[in-house]
Amino acid sequence: MTGASLPDALLSVRDVSLSFRGIHALTALSFDIKRGEICSLIGPNGAGKSSLLNLVNGVYWPDSGTIVFDGQTYRRLRAHQAAMLGIARTFQNNALFRNLSVLENVLTGLSRHGRASVASHLLQLPTARREERAFRERAEDVLGFLHIDAYRDAIVGQLPYGLQKRVELGRALVSRPAFILLDEPMAGMNDAEKAEMSRFVFDINRDLGVTVLLIEHDIGVVMNVSDHVVVLDYGRKVGDGTPAQVRDNPDVIAAYLGTRH
């Protein structure tokens, strides 16, 4: 199962298992994500998709197995450490800073690039002011890219859900990550909003060169945007390949229709 990872893999999950109080969330899971691709993770509710995302960005630690990111092997990665490595993410139920403005939320995304010291920020020394100006420009660029510049000063908690999802994407994107994890970025959206979000995901990948790991329930969207699809069921991998390969895989069909072999 372990196997050598692909030479051009950005992320390799190797033999990873995770359980919560005896409940197996993930069992001996292995797969690779190639540099520059959009990989979708699909599977029924409770298949372990979000658990996997939480492992990749250091929220959970695997019981066994390792995560290889950009050639480095990690047994225990911490959340802020993952961020420093250039792994950004969004959360299933929006984890925005609700009392901060849109611009401030996006600015926080730049935390991993902060170099000026705490004291220089408190005293507003020139180094801190320069950094602050540069960060503001980058944040404004992202707001423009996602067409949310008009809401710059709005308090995030008061925005409609669809816009919040976009702000969260902006917060992840602004740090120029190498790898972005999107946990159901289109949940609760109508078709027009989904189409728009799909386009953003596509642009992030093609124009900005960011490798994407996407969790999405809408199979239409998945088949459209993905280069690669991994299917989970009860914490095990039941499919791994191109969208076409996965669609024709009998195990995948069984998992989705609920008829276990």
Partner: protein, 293 residues
């Protein structure tokens, strides 16, 4: 009427002193969800350090900066030795840890600087000043000016700087903050340092009024009703709570005191706080449910 206004104003000014202590609590509670019982000990420790330095002939501002440095070093040590090993534990565990911490700080203060009561003279007389027909204490006015200055500085830091944005981000969603690369230990060191500086300023004002002595730690008990009334997670709440406690306390002393043949101000704030717990448990400005401790 003139008399009523004088009582009210001096109550409000006293309330600002309560608010100063409560702000130290709020800073730490907001950023880490920890109810820091050691805040009172920090007030004592800071004031005692300052007064010991000045008694050894260190000039005012040098002593002030040295004490700030001591509080920052203390914050770093607390983060490293107390908070980090207990990260991810329940708020109750952390509360108990700060309870222990308060004894350690007090013991350290006693060991290093003794238990004598020190006079502290900030150079401001505690004399009544006639102002638009009201009798106000000069010292109270000075204390209010300092408190207002402190709140302005804090709000500029919170609103304008990246540090402030990070602090508010952590207060809103700790996990998301970590996921974008904000380091919690750094944030903790900052809020405990800032709280230490707030404790120093509160300690100087309280110490100048009633002497720098171990009973200063008792102001932690006075800050409780202020926090319950204002809400644990709001600086504005700490200020309004402080003003409300100060004003009602002194009014109650004058108008209710004679009816019950005693000083009301010792317990009135607690009755008020119990009333708030019954009617509005999250306080005037609080925005989340309070963990029961």
């Amino acid at each position: 009427m003139q008399y009523f206004l004088t009582i009210l104003t001096s109550g409000l000014l006293a309330g600002i002193m309560y608010a100063m202590v409560a702000i130290g609590f709020v800073l730490i509670y907001k950023a880490s969800g920890v109810f820091n019982f050691a805040q009172g000990s920090m007030v004592l420790f800071a004031a005692l350090t300052f007064v010991t330095l000045t008694e050894h002939g260190v000039p005012f501002w040098a002593a002030f900066l040295a004490t700030v440095a001591v509080m920052v070093v203390g914050a770093v040590l607390i983060e490293r030795l107390v908070l980090r090993p207990l990260a991810d534990r329940s708020p109750l565990t952390l509360f108990m840890a700060t309870l222990g911490l308060s004894y350690v700080i007090e013991g350290l203060a006693q060991l290093l600087m003794g238990t004598d009561v020190h006079q502290l003279d900030l150079g401001i007389d505690d004399l009544p000043l006639s102002f638009a027909g009201l009798q106000l204490s000069q010292f109270d006015l000075f204390a209010s000016a300092v408190a207002i200055g402190l709140v302005v500085v804090l709000s500029v830091v919170f609103d304008r700087t990246r540090i402030g944005i990070s602090l508010r981000a952590v207060a809103d969603d700790t996990l998301a903050a970590q996921s974008i690369g904000i380091r919690l230990p750094v944030i903790w060191r900052i809020v405990w340092s800032v709280s230490g500086v707030v404790a120093l300023i509160a300690g100087l004002l309280w110490g100048a009024r009633q002497g720098v002595q171990f009973s200063l730690t008792m102001i932690v008990l006075k800050a409780m009703p202020v926090l319950i009334i204002g809400g644990f997670s709001s600086i504005a709440g700490a200020i309004v709570g402080g003003l409300l406690v100060g004003a009602t306390e002194s009014l109650a002393d004058i108008y209710i005191g004679p009816l019950v043949n005693g000083a009301v101000s010792n317990w009135f704030a607690y009755i008020l706080a119990v009333g708030f717990l019954l009617i509005r448990p999250s306080g005037l400005f609080g925005d989340r449910t309070i963990e029961r401790v």
